[in-house]
Amino acid sequence: MPDNDNDAKAPLIRFAGVQKTYDGESLVVKDLNLTIAEGEFVTLLGPSGSGKTTCLMMLAGFENPTGGDIFLGEQRLNRVPPHKRNFGMVFQNYALFPHMTVEENIRYPLKTRGLPADEARRKVAEILEMIQLIEFARRRPGQLSGGQQQRVALARALVFEPQLVLMDEPLGALDKQLREQMQLEIKHLHETLGLTVVFVTHDQGEALTMSDRVAVFNDGVIQQIDTPSNLYEYPANSFVAQFIGENNTLDGVVESVEGRRCRARFGDDLTTGALLGPGLGAGQATRLSIRPERVKLDGAAKGLPNRLRARVHEFIYLGDHLRVRCALPGNDDFVARVPVDDFDPRLRPGDDVELGWRDDDVRALDAS
């Protein structure tokens, strides 16, 4: 489990109260505060239009913040033009220069920095070796596959050893298998080269596998910044719970609070124990969130503190596990994820089953 001691490292980038509006009417980014430590892999995750690219562009210098400041160490970045920021950037469509060969593309940032020709050649050869594309050096980007182009774009953004690497959905155009392979490669590069990476994606799986920390965006606001496991286990609000991983929700009311825990009433007169989410108190409306794999069925449910009967709608067989869709009061689409071995093959749709879960597997979150 990744630890959470980033505060120990020196902060490299700091967003302080950053705001952005394009049209002067609505804020696309509202009061963004985010610190990125050196060597950290931070992902900005969120649905389309939530302002991720805008944040990245402000960091790269292609957009100016309407309010607030961005710092690089102690230096205020707002007035530094993009070509002086020394950040490597990988674009969604790679933006490889089509009229230059792979080699010329990778050499470009060295040329702009006035590196001597032989040193530049050595560095290009080194990085081509690293991305295993030496034999493609003289080809044009148009003659490469998507994955190869992706690697060239990466090499071009890394060859000048930038202090920060920005990536805007760099894997969006690749198919699933290649994407997973590239995720590992990028992660690997991050670890071996000690890069600081700000990565943008709207694919939560990608965010969880690659990042040290993930910032979940919605509507221009960071909903939660945390390690992948904390995001999954301890979502701060129902948006995060719903956005990260699979989730069952039950709407109810907080009945009583005892420390971190509470009891909540849902349906007509059902109650369950739950972990209390931030900002909630007794008597308040809540949305309860339970992960499908934490819901137990029949035999496995015996002895659990929260049990109830439900009618099964449907079984969906997925090889290593089954998804059992049941109707609960207030949620017709309640899903339990059951390992195939634990499953009673005599069950049929329309049968009643007993569902059960522990108190700590339920989060009582905001009802929005």
């Binding site: 790269a60 070509h83 933006a95 010329e104 702009t112 953004a157």
Partner: protein, 414 residues
Amino acid sequence: MASTLDPGAPAAQGNLKARLRRAERLRKLKAVGLVAPLALFLVIVFVLPIGSMLLNSVDNGSLRQVMPATAASLQEWDGEGLPEAATFAAFAEELRDSRRGGGLGSVGRRLNYEDSGFRGLLMRTLMGLPRESDDWRATLIDIDPAWGEGVTWRRIQAAAPPRTDRYLLASVDLERGADGEIQRVDADSRLYQAVFQRTLVIAGGVTLICLALGFPLAYLLATLPARTSNLLMILVLLPFWTSLLVRTAAWIILLQSNGLANQSLMALGLVESPLQLVFNRIGVFFAMVHILLPFMVLPLYSVMKGISPSYQRAAVSLGAHPFAAFWQVYVPQTVSGVAAGTILVFIMALGYYITPALVGGPADQMVSYYVAYYTNTTNNWGMAAALGSILLAVTLLLYLVYHRLVNRKQMIGS
């Protein structure tokens, strides 16, 4: 046994091939049917006229049709002294018969290109020609002593073969001398080399000005928000909606001595007396650039529209100054648009006729002016076709060179 061949296989294969052929044939027929009207149209409006122009430029006129015997026997003659008596006889009889048959007019016009007194000579001879004669040679020389000179006959001889290079040579200020070798024409009648040169200079100048004006304009159109750029695009296309003559006339009015341009310049105190802006090269450039600019802007725009702004951003993020990014990353990607625009404008400019004729001076007329002159005024199809053919050849040659250059540039890639 596994090794025995299935006897049905080859037959089935042949069958399959036949089926494929039949299916393909139908598809091909459909394709040809669809293309045929266009192909026919191209042949009628493109291949035939150009072919007939090329033929006209080497056509030697109608002497062979009107006086076949004369032409045949003159072609045998070695050009020394005088032709044989039989040639005199054939000529005299065919000249006499042309009274009835006609065709003498076109022969006279053709022979006049050799010597401007020839038509008169033919008419005088025809007038004095008896019905019959025992010695046509003596009779002809009697009518006009010119018939006793070898040079007269050599001129007719020049018109005898079916093809001639005289028009093509004349189009580049060359001619054949007395003994058939190619030489330059007299210094004071040289004209066409200068005209071709002028045509290329004007077309090239117009193309460069169009590129210089069109590139930033197209860039603006491609990068502005859609609303503004659509409005600007209408302004760019506006000239297309008015007649070329009207636009040219408008330039005359604007640029003349007491026109708006000169009055504004004088009112601003930039000049003291009106500038000569029209009926000279300046006027030609103004009017032609105005008319041809859209043909530069449109291909450039369509190429630029397809270039994602992320290329320049990428270059800037890699440390290039925005100007360097523009020059090193953006401009090379527009090469195909620049190539299309310049070749389009240049080739269209080469053929310009009305505009230089209206807003240019005598020294600004381009090749097309002389083509029009020969077709409309003097009916000399040979010269008109020859000038056109040479222009076509020069254009093709330049195009090939240019194509090579642009391709090489794209291959090298920066």
